[in-house]
Symmetry: C2
């Protein structure tokens, strides 16, 4: 007997048939004697339609009303999931954010969870009733519906698992787990049985879009074990105690046989900005990056070339490609203050990252990585590192070659 939170994403509740199939996964867990809370997203595509309506009717819309409209998607699937379970003989009841209550701050449209009171739902779960919870939504201090921002249903599920002290939070999605790399790019990529929170965080923020970064962070701090699996598996497929159909995201300590490198990620949504012949004098970095920060632009990698003439240097950094034009505008406006000859933007770059908690105890990963790329004639334009990650910026044309080369180098290829 375990207490489980089961979360179903948009593609797993896309229509009546998929809702029914997802309900069979819940029924299996209930039949196995587990107490279950189910968190549902809106039907795939439904939230986009609702968001589009709010944009059409008022381009600068009031976030309170946006939340009232957009939260309706999860309300529908919560009711339908409860009905699907009931029709299978499973006791179930839907819960909206305000009914639980799942309290948030008043940052409508991107609210943060302030607290979840399990007093109403937990006793009912313990009597065998499945609590079906509308994800992505809560109630603010103004007694109005709030939403948690896109992808917020994962966060709802993890927060609920923490509040209920659940044994596990199962994230049902349209892929069967976390892979060593993107299988579309690396055919030899294989599913990981386990991955640590830290590694998952790097994977999520670097472009592996299975789990939202925010939900992984919360799982890590709240010590919620996440289990990622596919809702499109046969509902009678074994759980994590039998043949493993997914990936467990857990504490490092739970991973017995730790690889040096767990995965190779890549991100194509970065853009590069180069300031040519910037005056090379103290305080220049502040004059460049200050205005960018003030404009809400996150800068990722930074490279300052060695000054050739002793007076000027080239400064290169990366931003999200959606921020590129804004960054160019901000720096053009500040040209008289910064003093540079030219400014250039480019989007034909990719960031490739090698990730693994095992790096902490294994030296030489970076050297092996740089050598392997050099052997393939791939030029590294910038480097950034953390304790468990090494990222390089390269020409976008070499993205696939680089990812496959590193996947093989670090012995991740499936047999």
């Amino acid at each position: 007997m375990a207490l489980l939170v089961m979360k179903f994403g948009g593609t797993s509740v896309a229509d009546i048939e998929t809702i029914r199939n997802s309900a069979l996964h819940v029924k299996r867990e209930v039949d196995n004697g587990n107490h279950c809370a189910v968190v549902v997203s809106a039907m795939s595509g439904h939230t986009n339609q609702l968001v589009e309506w709010t944009r059409e009717i008022a381009p600068l819309h009031d976030a309170r009303e946006y939340d009232a409209v957009v939260s309706s998607g999860e309300q529908i699937t919560a009711g339908l999931m409860a009905l699907a379970l009931q029709s299978m003989g499973v006791q179930a009841r839907s819960w909206l954010g305000w009914q639980i209550p799942l309290e948030t701050d008043d940052a409508h449209g991107a609210a943060r969870i302030a607290g979840i009171d399990p007093a109403k739902i937990k006793p009912r779960m313990e009597r065998g009733e499945v609590a079906v919870i509308a994800g992505f939504q809560g109630i603010g201090p103004d007694n109005r519906i709030t939403t948690l921002g896109r992808g917020g249903s994962d966060t709802s599920a993890v927060a609920l698992a923490a509040a209920l002290r659940a044994d596990r939070c199962d994230i049902y999605t349209d892929v069967d787990g976390i892979y060593t790399s993107d299988p579309r790019v690396v055919p030899k990529a294989h599913r990981l049985d386990r991955i640590s929170y830290e590694e998952m965080l790097e994977m999520a923020s670097l472009g592996a879009k299975v789990l939202q970064t925010r939900s992984v962070e919360m799982a890590m701090t709240q010590r919620v074990r996440l289990y990622v699996r596919s809702s499109f598996d046969a509902p009678d497929a074994s759980g994590p105690n039998g043949e493993n159909p997914g990936t467990l995201v857990c504490d490092e300590d739970e991973i017995v046989e730790q690889q040096v490198v767990s995965g190779i990620a890549y991100a194509k949504d970065e853009a590069k900005v180069t300031l040519v012949r910037v005056e090379d004098k103290p305080g220049i970095a502040a004059r460049v990056f200050g205005p960018l920060a003030d404009s809400g632009i996150n800068v990722d990698m930074i490279v300052q070339n060695i000054s050739e003439d002793g007076r000027t240097t080239d400064l290169t950094f990366t931003v999200q490609d959606s921020d590129l034009q804004k960054a160019l505008d901000v720096l053009s406006a500040a040209k008289t203050d910064i003093v540079y000859e030219d400014i250039r933007g480019a989007t034909d770059i990719v960031k490739v990252s090698v990730i693994g908690v095992g790096m902490r105890s294994h030296a030489g990963v970076a050297a092996r990585m740089f050598n392997a790329l050099a052997e393939k004639g791939i030029n590294i334009q910038a480097i950034s590192t953390s304790e468990i990650k090494i990222s390089v910026l390269i020409d976008a044309a070499y993205a696939e070659l680089a990812v496959r080369t590193l996947h093989t180098l670090f012995e991740l290829d499936a047999n």
Copy 2:
């Protein structure tokens, strides 16, 4: 300065464009210095889609979950209407049933309003903020969303107008008022400037589908003046104090020049049941109509022919055509108890009614009606009357002829 409740039906909030147009009607009233509450239905067709989903997923569905799903339609339009108003510079805020609160009993799917607390919304309305209220929904004693049954948004609007002591409840729909008869059948039908509650009730229950019977009953008992008009009129068209663009449903006393007959209604959704050669003895009516009542079947008109042989008679009555098969089944099962030779059902009939509070003080309306029909060779199969209404059952083939004949007879034809 008046306090107005404005209700917009499904076709008036069918998409972004119609919502915006409806919002312009609200803006006109606000600009005129009125304090407004707006009640909205779901987008036209949206509720049907939601109902269909609940049926697909569980044919015998839990009414609580049905309500959670189906109420989402009005939630969406309430938010969008608030956004539309805000974008026009009108202060507005959406309110769901549980936020007001609009309290109901726990009859999920067809709840009755128990009370509306105006304490939160009225002060805000008086400060110039439009309260946009999701129609059709409330909150039950179990802290769960309830719905009021189909057409419930009219009821929400009237109940709200009563709770707010509104000066008027404007019902915006896709027709511009109440007509003397169905204009599709009677090209000379004309719009009434005013109609009494009692007449409107007869019109509504007899097939003029502009207003829900229940909402008219509530308007009558709560003395809420209803004003029916089209949301598709230009928003700058005059209100009831200028050139009259709709129909006011009000107390008889407010109608100065009262016609003898106000309208001719017809209902095609009746079916006729005839029991042939029923034993003609005391108590037979109870043995026939008792089982029908027990099965929830409403019987409308009843005709018992004069017994020819002194022992048996033919008994004819009408039911809703959707109840016909059930009625036949119930009476077939009770055959040994009732004792009759044969049972026959027919749907090729229509009920035509002449309605007018003026009948109370004018004798001879029935005689003129029967004569006119006889002159056209139309056979009357059954008759029922009330103080302000005379209904006859005739062959469906004569429906249009009968309605037009009576419309002309009682001087309702437009010039």
